[in-house]
């Protein structure tokens, strides 16, 4: 077994844009679930909308800043549409409505109805919407080697997208840190702990929940943009499985913590890489074909999620007292 290759592949996941994208999405979900106690089971819908908003507006000729604003605006509208019917109801209604709404987004996106905009089930090719982002790169052309990693500076899956993605993650972490120390953040935690007490203090619980839903959704949309920058927009790649993986990332790192989502995302993808590489090396190819490695690792994610929630629901960094596992 080639240990060096195994470790290099695993370490590459630490800085991969995909890891950053899931970290961002999980930070958004953390605002929903960790801090406010909202059960959002349709986070991939926010991500997909962000990706579509960014890609379609860029293709239509919008500059980078406008495309990003449009991506975030899509998430704001989506959050409002979801929140109005459900935020006054018990938590599991929000779960069912969000997962349904995310599926609606995916189904409409992959429908042949809007093929000209969304490319239907084949999605939007990456090269069609990356130019504005890549034009912004200050790096010279060519490729750079840092330690074991060699990537092109400005290739679509190169250093520039890594730097930008992790810069956004860092800003998001800082933003959430400051926000959750603010009075606004304390009200959110209050809602999570005891909604009626907060109501008794004269705060509009509904308005605060809505603001949290919008904020987390916007972060999710940014995660979606980061996710598609190195690849392409594929509606079927951003379905329920993605939502559940974001949940795994969040619960792994620890809900209601500042660094939990980032740590969770890193551990999730590093472990996944190690497990996959090991299975490829160890499992006899005549019993498990390479194509079967992927469902096998998917199975392991599912089992890991179950065990995690049962035996360590607070995750790695979390505090058991700050858990929000009760429906209201």
């Amino acid at each position: 077994m080639d240990w060096q290759r195994l470790l290099t592949l695993a370490a590459a996941e630490l800085i991969a844009p995909q890891t950053a994208a899931f970290a961002l999405a999980a930070i958004g979900l953390n605002v929903h679930f960790g801090f406010t106690g909202l059960l959002n089971m349709g986070h991939a819908g926010f991500m997909l909308l962000g990706a579509y908003g960014f890609a379609i507006s860029t293709i239509a000729g919008a500059p980078l800043w406008l495309a990003l604003i449009i991506a975030m605006a899509c998430a704001v509208v989506f959050a409002l549409l979801l929140g109005i019917p459900t935020l006054k109801l018990r938590g599991d209604y929000l779960a069912i409505v969000t997962i349904s709404a995310a599926e609606i987004v995916r189904m409409v996106g992959r429908s042949t109805l809007f093929t000209d905009l969304t490319g239907a089930s084949s999605g939007i090719r990456g090269n069609t919407y990356k130019s504005t982002f890549q034009a912004l790169s200050p790096l010279p052309d060519g490729s750079t080697t840092i330690g074991p990693f060699t990537y092109g500076n400005n290739l679509s899956n190169g250093w520039w997208v890594r730097i930008a993605a992790w810069a956004i993650v860092l800003l998001a972490v800082l933003f959430i840190y400051l926000l959750m120390r603010s009075p606004w953040g304390r009200v959110l935690k209050g809602i999570r702990e005891d909604e009626d007490a907060v109501r008794a203090l004269g705060k509009s619980v509904y308005a605060y929940k809505m603001q949290a839903l919008v904020l987390g959704g916007v972060l999710g949309a940014l995660g979606g943009v980061v996710y598609v920058l190195p690849t392409s927009v594929q509606p079927d790649a951003m379905g329920r499985a993605m939502t559940f993986f974001v949940w795994t990332v969040l619960l792994l790192g620890g809900a209601a913590t500042i660094f939990g989502p980032v740590l969770g995302s890193m551990i999730f993808f590093v472990t996944l890489s190690i497990v996959r590489t090991t299975m490829r090396e160890v499992l006899p190819p005549d019993v498990f074909s390479p194509a079967q490695i992927e469902p096998l690792s998917g199975m392991l994610i599912g089992i890991a999620l179950m065990l995690l929630v049962i035996f360590r629901p607070q995750g790695i960094l979390g505090d058991k007292k700050e858990l929000t596992f009760h429906v209201r």
Partner: protein
Amino acid sequence: MLAALTALLAGMLLVLAPPARAGTDDGCVSSPEAGCLAGSVRGSDGPAGGVEIQVEGPESTETVTTGEDGTWSAAITANGTYTLTLDVGTLPEGQQLLSPDDNPRDLRAVVGATRQVNFELGDPEAVDEAPSGESGTGGTDPMVDAEGGEIIGEEAPRGGSTITPQRIAQQAAAGLRFGLVLALASVGLSLIYGTTGLSSFSHGEQVTLGALLTYVFASVLGWPLVPAIILAVALCASTGWLQDAGIWKPLRRRGVGLVQGMIVTIGLALALQYLFQLVFGGGTVSILNYIPGTWTIGPVRLNIPSYYAMGISVVALSAVGYFLLRTRTGRATRAVSDNPALAAASGIDVDRIIRLVWVVSAGLAGLAGVLLALIFNGANWTLGMQMLLLMFAAVTLGGLGTAFGALVGSLVIGMVVEMANLVVPTDLKYASALLILILVLLVRPQGILGRAERIG
């Protein structure tokens, strides 16, 4: 605020409606006797017309040519593996296939459904495009959960015709059929929710399990259909027992919260889905190795399994209804649903009732899976995943936790799904059912049969 939102959502529906039938006019239309292979050839510069694709099937070989809009379709008359070969020579000047390895490609198609096959044009050298990480194989990344493989095809003709009373009757019959079978699965989901408070996301996988087990017994082992179905349903019911004994009872003992439990079901659903994919592969399997005939009653034409499925559903649902209303255990079940603590105080063994509910629900879900696989002549690992949200929609529509509400909700969802076919493209019919769910929640959050209590 509410009115504005309703108007907005209604507006969304309207936007969806008008261009619905564009492009499907003289294409292939699937029916109980014929299926379709259809798709498009497109690149980043737009669709490619005049491209020849050879469709080689078990019975015949034909060559089709893409139209101006890059779309093509071919009718098929037999289930089996088809080989599609795109003639690269007929591509527009300077264009090539994005993934030349996919040409020719083999795929399974079944009668009674449309299988979408798209060819993408582009520069295969642009390796830049590959997803991050080491997985150069792209499509097999678990992030791509291949939900594209919709197996629940449409039987009724769609598009290209106006809404006639005949079509409405046909769709209504299909809606009734789908609603009844859906009810089998969602009544169980609702009973579980009622007695334990758990929204079980792994209920969809129980549906898949029923279908796939019947496939193993009837098609792989070659047993007669009836014993195969009976054994599959019995095995499904026993998985309900196993689940409760192995997972849910210990978790109740530990005092694990409902949200935690819900996330555990999500993990279980993921694990089971990928297990099915591991064992049965990504393709669609069919239980019957022949094409079932059709019966015509008045304006309605459905395949023969559909009539049996409706009959079996009605019998099974009546049995559940009789059990809940007339038997002692059924009354106990409703008592637990109403108030578990009070039920326990009046001498009902709550754990025993919950165990029974899990067994019955898993069995019913398995039966629903078998019937769906027979109706649509195919099942794959995503079958339950596609059904799950419709079940949730049905249960929520009817009122969370009320068994009869789930029945009403299922019939509504079945009707909406099939009737939506009249106005929106087939690939949006499930989306329309979910949209109805959200709209109903706006005006009647407790659901159709739910009690108007304060929930929240």
